[in-house]
Amino acid sequence: MTHITASVVQQLAALSAISLDDNEVESMRQELGKIFEYIAQLQELDTSAVEPTYQVGWVGTAMRSDEVAESLGREKLLSLAPSAKDNQIKVPKVL
């Protein structure tokens, strides 16, 4: 099994902006170890002769004319925010 330490899990959690409790860290450590071992099988494949495929059936960047069109509107979108004030979304202070 690929050895994953608790600190690796915590680092991934930090990169992912997800807070994990100690129990979650431990279960993720075990599960991710097994999953990483499984997906590592691809390293056996010889892919030296091929390019990666990021997108199937890519039809190219679509262009449209630059015309003013209706959109959802500020009020409607602000109503979805957990907290809003003075036509803006409110969050706790950053610093």
Partner: protein, 465 residues
């Protein structure tokens, strides 16, 4: 079995009205509430729209036909939750393009079906609101992630239901519940307004009882949408065509001893049925499919980790009440709003995309994907379609795989290859095991051969009452 045709002809003949059809569907939904296939009904909006049909103000190919959306399609009438705590109270400000298209043809959404939260899973057990029971055996899973939509179709609550399929989320539950399920060619129907999972393989499809109904619904859903730049110009004509003899390959790697004997038997019987109808069916080999699941569980978590970055507790969705700083708004809202499986996939994505691992995992998987696509292309030089089981076994027991994520991932092994290659694939109800559990077979074709696959299935479909 209720088909779209039955409902349309009852309304046309005056035997019933759209309002009566919608009321009846809502009653059936309530009578089957114990399956937990539906998260919310939308009776008010549905009946309003049914009245418009009866008054002649709303017409179209599906006028008065009730349907259900998987609750990751933005749709009015009730919150769009993606079966998650993150979006528990999210009222969609607009509707998904495919929902709009169906409504323009007079179809009437009566409710929203259960799924694995954010469509992450193969059993609908990862729903924040509890699992859905299998339509045939309530001790078993519905399959997933579109489990609720498969079950409402199988229970005849509605004649069709919408699902999304990223790696098998329509086909596998279709197989587990004995209905048709289509994952169309990547780009056939717009992804706009559907909660994103993995953008390079997300497709929008449906469940129905017959190939004809499946084609009719997909025909309405298909087409270019300026709001989804990967959507293709409409190639889907929505009808069934007479078939000339076709050459079909059974992929032998999907028929080995690890596959349940009953599943192999049903698949072989289906091959015989195709032969009896004049088609040629031969065994073919595609060894690279053995690596498809590993590719999938690198590429998809990578895309998931990016797509789910938008759930930050700021603009919409859940915000943690415990958060005191902006950083905590992100990390605690995400901790509380996501299920374990969501977190697991995001962490896998962060791992395979991180410096030092990117080339070995993510880049290697995207290169392996090219090998897979080339393998399919080579087979399609000789064969018109490929046949495999849809799932390696019939529906498993509730709770059977929840403790072992990797084992749960293995249930996607038959369906992920077509997803990675963008190919159309349908699951056809083809038989049962000794206990009566449904078993589906999968037909996979070249890009944009969706109509052909449905016509092929229709050509050997048993007449159903």
């Amino acid at each position: 079995m209720i088909t779209i045709g039955h409902i349309l002809s009852r309304i046309k003949s005056g035997e019933s009205s759209a309002v009566q059809e919608v009321e009846a569907a809502l009653e059936r939904a309530k009578a089957h509430a114990s399956y937990h296939a539906l998260l919310e009904l939308t009776p008010e909006r549905a009946l309003e729209r049914a009245k418009l049909v009866d008054e002649g103000a709303l017409t179209g190919k599906l006028a008065g036909v009730p349907f259900v959306v998987k609750d990751n399609f933005l749709a009015f009438g009730a919150p769009t939750t993606a079966a998650s705590n993150m979006l528990r109270n999210f009222d969609a400000p607009y509707q998904a393009t495919v929902v709009e298209k169906l409504e323009q043809e007079g179809a009437i959404c009566i409710g929203k079906s259960n799924l694995d939260a954010f469509a992450h899973g193969g059993s609908t057990e990862n729903s924040a609101f509890g699992p859905t029971n299998n339509a045939i055996d309530t001790t078993r899973v519905a399959g997933g992630s579109s489990g609720g939509s498969a079950v409402v179709t199988a229970l005849d609550i509605v004649p069709f239901a919408l699902g999304s399929d990223t790696g098998g989320s329509i086909r596998q539950p279709a197989s587990f519940n004995g209905v048709y399920g289509i994952k169309p060619t990547y780009g056939t129907a717009s992804r706009y307004g559907v909660v994103a999972m993995a953008s390079s393989t997300d497709t929008m499809g449906c469940f129905a009882h017959t190939a004809e109904d499946t084609a009719l619904v997909m025909g309405v859903m298909a087409g270019r949408d300026s709001k989804d730049m990967t959507s293709l110009p409409d190639f889907f004509d929505g009808s069934i065509h007479p078939m000339n003899p076709m050459k079909i390959g059974i992929i032998k790697e999907t028929m080995d001893n690890s596959v349940d004997e009953s599943v192999r038997a049903v698949t072989n019987t289906y091959a015989d049925t195709l032969r009896a109808a004049g088609h040629t069916v031969e065994e073919v080999s595609l060894p690279i499919v053995n690596h498809a699941l590993a590719m999938y569980y690198i590429i998809i978590p990578a895309e998931v980790s990016s797509n789910l970055a938008r759930y930050d507790g700021v603009r919409y969705g859940h915000r943690s009440e415990a958060a005191k700083t902006l950083a905590e708004v992100y990390s605690l809202s995400r901790a509380e709003g996501f299920m374990s499986e969501n977190k697991r996939r995001i962490l896998i994505g962060s791992f395979v995309l991180s410096q030092g691992f990117f080339d070995a995992y993510y880049l290697q998987a995207q290169k392996a994907r090219t090998l897979l696509i080339q393998g399919f292309e080579k087979l399609f030089e000789t064969y018109d379609a490929l046949l495999t089981p849809t799932a390696a076994a019939p529906a498993f027991k509730l709770g059977e795989n929840t403790e072992d994520p990797l084992k749960m991932y293995m249930t996607d092994v038959m369906t992920v290859p077509a997803s990675l290659a963008g190919l159309p694939a349908i699951s056809v109800p083809a038989g049962t095991n000794e206990q009566g559990l449904p078993i589906g077979v999968q037909l996979v074709g070249p890009l944009q051969s969706d109509n052909t696959l449905l016509s092929l299935a229709a050509s050997v479909e048993e007449p159903r009452s």
